[in-house]
Structures are given as structure tokens and as C-alpha cells.
Symmetry: D3
Subunit: 159 residues, 6 copies
């Protein structure tokens, strides 16, 4: 068996400690992990594609098997180009579950060779999301401990 390359796709707008937790777990499972930031320009992200890529890159610097990239178009097409066959996704809650299954079944339909693998973040991050981080920050709350330090700084610069 050739060891599979894993891709962890997402908006990461911004990345949280929950995302970082999943990335680290993925490095224990697969020899190469690509964090793939999606160019969902239509979703009107708070941070630009390059900002998001840079925030993750800083946060994962000490994990040599992790690379950070951006992509547009279909995830399965991107993965084919990267010779990757595993999609990493974090599952925190029931609402994740249904959305993730919908996406996973669609991706499987588009390319049968690609497998989705769901990991469970630390329970401390069960209810942590990028949008909640932004809401708390915008209302003047501290997001320390919820996001990597580099993200906290970026939020303060952008705020």
C-alpha cells in the first residue's frame, strides 16, 4: 500500500485551536498532511485567502509533515492534482455530522477513490467555531486560548 496523502480542507476564517488540534491528530495518522484553504470568495470571508494561509502556516510551523496550500474549484479535482486520497474533517456536533456526510457522499460520488476520515477534536473545542470566535472578538471578548497566537494578533490588527 502506498501511504495516502491527507488533505484537510476548510475556510479557516480564521483558524482556531480546534482546527489546529485536528491537524496535529492527522499528523499522527498520515505521513503527509496538506491544509487546503478554500478560495470561497462568494462566502465573503473576513480574512483574505493569503491571510488565512499565512495564519495557519505560522501555527503549524513546528509540524514538518504539514504543508499549507490554497485551492479553488472542486476539492476532489484539487486532490487528484495533489495525488491525495484522504479528506480529513473534524466532527464536533450533530449539525456538523449531517453537513459533513452530505459533502462526503457528494465527494465520493465525484471520485470513488477518495475517502473521508472524521476525527474528534479535544472536548475542550467541541463547541468552538470560527464564527463564534469572530463574534466574541467583535464584541470585545478575549479569544485567548481559542485561537493560535498568530491569529489573535491578526484579529487585533484587523479589528
Amino acid at each position: 500500500m502506498r501511504q495516502p496523502v491527507a488533505v484537510y480542507p476548510g475556510s479557516f476564517d480564521p483558524p482556531t485551536n480546534g482546527h489546529l488540534d485536528i491537524i496535529v491528530r492527522a499528523t499522527h495518522l498520515f505521513p503527509k498532511v496538506i491544509v487546503a484553504v478554500t478560495d470561497n470568495s462568494n462566502k465573503n470571508p473576513t480574512f483574505t485567502l493569503q491571510e488565512r494561509k499565512k495564519m495557519i502556516a505560522e501555527a503549524v510551523r513546528r509540524y514538518p509533515t504539514v504543508t499549507v496550500d490554497t485551492f479553488s474549484g472542486l476539492l476532489v479535482d484539487y486532490m487528484t492534482r495533489k495525488k491525495a486520497s484522504v479528506i480529513i474533517r473534524g466532527l464536533r456536533a450533530i449539525s456538523d455530522f449531517e453537513y459533513e456526510f452530505e459533502m462526503a457522499l457528494m465527494n465520493r460520488r465525484l471520485n470513488k477513490r477518495i475517502e473521508a476520515v472524521f476525527l474528534m477534536p479535544d472536548e475542550a473545542y467541541t463547541y468552538l467555531s470560527s464564527s463564534l470566535v469572530k463574534e466574541v472578538f467583535s464584541l470585545g471578548g478575549s479569544v485567548s486560548g481559542l485561537v493560535p497566537e498568530s491569529v489573535e494578533k491578526s484579529l487585533k490588527r484587523s479589528g
Copy 2:
């Protein structure tokens, strides 16, 4: 990174095509997969531990990286003995989700180095379970296509 050994634990009372589907997916992800049948003697299984082990062994014969084993006691202790660090579990429905998370968090607490990985079976098996198979069979219905052939024969012998 040493490539992790994966364990797929369960009762498999009896194994279904949904279980087999997960096993095959696991072989695409990890170089070695151990199907570990649990000796849950207190759960009053329909088939003996050895019968269940044998049914799976027949069903996975053409997958050389899969071995079938039995275990009793804590899963994490068994995995330590086997130098395995990945638990494979199938996620079909919301009710699975909560039970699986409870077990995964407990296992993580018992041994932080062990990671649970959730896979999604083919949608044709979304609502397939061992107990439903037994119920249909006991009422005289055909379980062809729901279980491996060897299991169908065993059910007929036992019926």
C-alpha cells in the same frame, strides 16, 4: 512517522456488509488492519466469539492486510499489546454519533496516544445493523445482500 496499525473493534454479531465495507475502506488508509471481535459475554450474543471470528475471517479472506482477532478487557489495553494506535469506527447515523463519541472520549482519556478515526459506510448500508439483520432473518425475510455469504450460511445453519 511509523505507520500506525489500525484496529476495528466490535461485536460483529453477526458481521454485515456494512462492517465489511468499513474494513475495506480501512485497508486503503492503513497498512495493517486488525478486526478485533469483543468477548462481550455479558451481552448475550447470538453467535459465539469463535463463530463471529470465523465469519469475518471468511469474509475478508482476499484482503491480505486484514487479520481477525478476539479480545476481552479494555480495548486500549488490547491495542497497547498489539502496538496499534488507531481505532476504526463506522458512523452511520446520529445515534451512532453520540455513542461513538462517548466511547472515543473515554478511550482517549484512558490512553492519550490512541486516536479514533470515523469512516462513513456506503449509503446503501446507512441503516443496516446486526440486530436488524437478525430480526429480519428470524421473521423469515431474506438477508441476501445485507451480509457476507458466509454469514448467510451460518444464519441458516443456526436458524
Copy 3:
């Protein structure tokens, strides 16, 4: 189109006002409704098959298109004998949802011509179940308004 005959299967151990609510709704949809009490002798019911049949029969007396019957074996086989093609089921809560879908998909697999139709009981009965009725009654609570009068009497006789 021949008008379909509908079957409302269940344990009805005992029937509740929630069951009755579903039966009445079904009579507005289909010209003939058969309430089919299942002989789940392995489930160790509180009331005998005949008691359950009689309790429903008394409760639906004024609905001329409803008949009450018992069956054993596979529901789809019973329906074929009865030339019925519609299964009626009440959906109250999420936990119902998953169980009902599992059963409906299995029945569809066993007989493609049979369709499951889900109805929503009055919200007053959303959280009403036979087991809860029995628990409340056994602890000395009033079940008036939760079950048909004939059932209340039976409970008192049996208590």
C-alpha cells in the same frame, strides 16, 4: 390508480391517545386503514396480543374504515396477504426518526412496492409513549387524557 390500503403496525402495549391521533389522521388520507398489532412475543409485552387488539378495537369503534388485526412474521409479508401497500407511522421525535428510517428502508428493500408514510401527531402527544404511560401508571400517577378510556380501565384491572 387503485386506492391503496394502509396498515398501521405497532406493539400498542398499550395503545395511547397518540396512536389514536395517528389512526384518525390516516382515515382522512386512505380509504381503508388496518391497525396491525404485532405478536412480538419476544419483547415480553405487558398486555397479551388479544388484549391489545381489543383495546384498540374499542377505541376506534366509531371509525368505520378502520379494522384491527394481529400479525406475526414480516410486516411486508402480512401486507402482501392483505393487498396493502402503505405503512403508516407516527413521527414524534428525532429518536423515532432514525429507527423508523431504518425499518422503512429495510421494508423497502424487502418489497419495493410498499411505501412508508409518516404522519405527525398532535403536538400534545409529541412526547407520549406506551412505556411512559406504563411507568406513570405503575408509580400511581393518573394517565387520564393520555390513553383511550378503555385502556385506562384495562390498566386499572391489570394493575
Copy 4:
């Protein structure tokens, strides 16, 4: 009992094979089925009301008991005008479940004579939705097998 007329309301933006699956099942249950496209102009649909109506009409051409219509205002008022008493809805997932129940209870409150009937699509369509179809198409993916042919053509013309 007068046989009830059934209405299958929705946005159908665009119609999918999951919608079509529900329509066909409804024709087995009720002698007359009206697919009622809602003029939800505030939801900023991708296709115009007339385009959506036309796409469905082409897809259901061979089902003589199905008619396609458009409506605005309250569904229950439309149904009263059409002398229809049954609302058909497909239930795919938990998230559907809660939304559908909310709508069904509200409609019941607005008109007690109207009954909502929930059908289960083929499991192949469990996780199929109009929005997912549009997302996949917009990213360059094939939606063949997910939507009726007429819809695929419309998507290509509009794309």
C-alpha cells in the same frame, strides 16, 4: 371518503432527482398530485419561477396524474383554492425533520383540515439538495445522475 388531492410544495431551485423520487412515490399514494413551485422572490432564487416550473414539467411529463403549478402567499390558502388537503414533503435528514415539523405544525394551526405526509426518498438521494447541486455545478463538477436531464441542460445554458 373523497380521495384527497396532494400538493408537493417547494422551491425546486433547481429540481433534483430526489424531488422527482418523492413525486413518483406520491403518485402511488394519491390520485392527483400538484407540484407547487413557490414564488419565494425574497429568497433570491437562481432560476425564475417559470424556469423552475418548466424544468419540473419536463421531468414529470410521463406521470399523467401530476400537474405543475406556481403559487404565492400562504400554502394553506393555495390548497384551499385547489381543494387539496394533503401536503407532501420529503424527509432526508434530522435537520429536515425539525424544519418540516415547524412548518407542518404552523400549517396545521392555520388550517386544521390539512395534513402533512412525509415520505422517504431513495437512500441514494438522502444527502442530495438543490444547493449542493448548484455548488458542485458552479465548481465544475458533473451533476449527471443528480438532476433530471432537462435540469442538467438548463444548468449548462445558465452557467
Copy 5:
């Protein structure tokens, strides 16, 4: 123990009888209840902050222990200013559950002394929401019995 002051925060755009039901229940539990209308100007509410405050104030006039207020910024900061330590929230459905838990865990993180308390509205309001009220009203349906009278009048004036 000093008796805790309870805050019931929300958008109340507009308040419904479900909200009122929760307020009344809260008055049976805590000696002082503050209904705190959030100035979520970014959510583009239908009614202004002052209109929403006034509608609630009229609806709760006969409950002397209830006061109505507005706030902006973090809820926990507002509560500290008010010396309040209990957040009241209504739980109607699964989708509420996950959102509410996410918010409650975040608030607990921001201030450990603040406790979220979940109450269950009357089952008649299980599926009632402000957005559904607005949708029904905008389509010409009656919302009588779903909202306090003062709200019904406001809707008619605004309509």
C-alpha cells in the same frame, strides 16, 4: 446564598408567546428577571431595538419582578454590570440545543461565575419562532395566539 438575578437575553424580533412563556416560568424560579434585548444591529432586525423593548414591556406589564432592558457588547459584561449570574434560555428543539450549548460554553469560558439555565416552553410553542411568525404574517396569515396582542398590533402597523 444571595439570590441570583436572572437575565433572559435575546433578539425578540418580535417577541412571541413562546418567549413570554419562558419569562413567566423564570419569574417562578428567580426573584428578579431582566429581559435583555440585544442590539444586534448587524443582524438587520425587522423591528428597532426600542420597538422590541417596548413590545416586551407591554407584554410583561403584570409581572412586577420583570424588567426589560437593552444591551450591546458581550452578554457576560452586561451581566457583570447588572450583578446578574443566571442566563435564562428556552430550549425547544435539537437545533436550539447545539447552538445554545455553544453559546453557554463560550459564556462560561468568558466568566466562570455565570450559569446558563435552560427552560422548556409549553409544548404548544415547541415549534414557534420569531422568524416563522414574520413569515406567516408577511404571507397574510393570522398570528393571533402566537404573539402577545401588543406585538400583533405592531406587526399590523408595520406591515
Copy 6:
């Protein structure tokens, strides 16, 4: 307003740190909290009623407003005798949610003056249950940190 007495009912077979977490939260909300161990002799508990009462009593010794009691029969009847009007329940997961709502609506029906209040345990206890504790212990795993010390000792004595 007379300050309400709160009852926290349950099997506590055995009590866990999750139960203890809820008890402590309740003491911040209500001046008097009664932990009421249910005599569910039909559920075949692992520990006797008196053992369970004693284990909780030891664990809550330093909370002067907490008393521990046992009861049989209907909870609402017990509460009337105790002049208590608030039921405390912990909500950890979706499956809790539906069961708890069913019970709460039934209790409300049996006695309208009694209010159920749901609290959220620390996220570290989200997936902790008495049955999981017993399973882990019986398989030889450590339950340290999952249950109060007195319970750990009792488990060891009983094991």
C-alpha cells in the same frame, strides 16, 4: 416570591463527577437542593439504594445546602411532600435531550406547578455516564477523575 426548593432526582448508580458538577451548580442557583435517589428496584441497580445515598452524601459533605434523600413512587408526589417546585436535570447530549423533555412534559402534566430546569455540566463531563463508568471499571480500567473518591473506593470494594 418564596425561594423554591430544588430536587435533583436520579439513579446515581453510581454517582459520577458529572452528577457532582450539576449539584454544585444547583447550589449557586437555589437556596436548598435535595439530591433524591430513586428506588428503581425494577432497573436492577448495581448498588443498593442505601449505598447510592451514602456515596452521594459523602461526596457532597462540604455543601451545607445539599441534602440527600431517597424516594419511590412519582417524583412529583415526592416533591409535593417536600414542598419543592424545581427539578434539576443535567443535559449532556442530544439523546439526553429527548428523554429529558419527555419526562419533563409528563411531570408538568402531572403537576403544573413544578418546573424542570436544565443545567449543562462542564464539557469535561459531556460524555460521562454511570453505565460507562461501570463498564470501564469492570474491564479493569481506571475511573479515577470520573467519580468522587468515595465512589472509587466503593467500586473497588464491590468489584
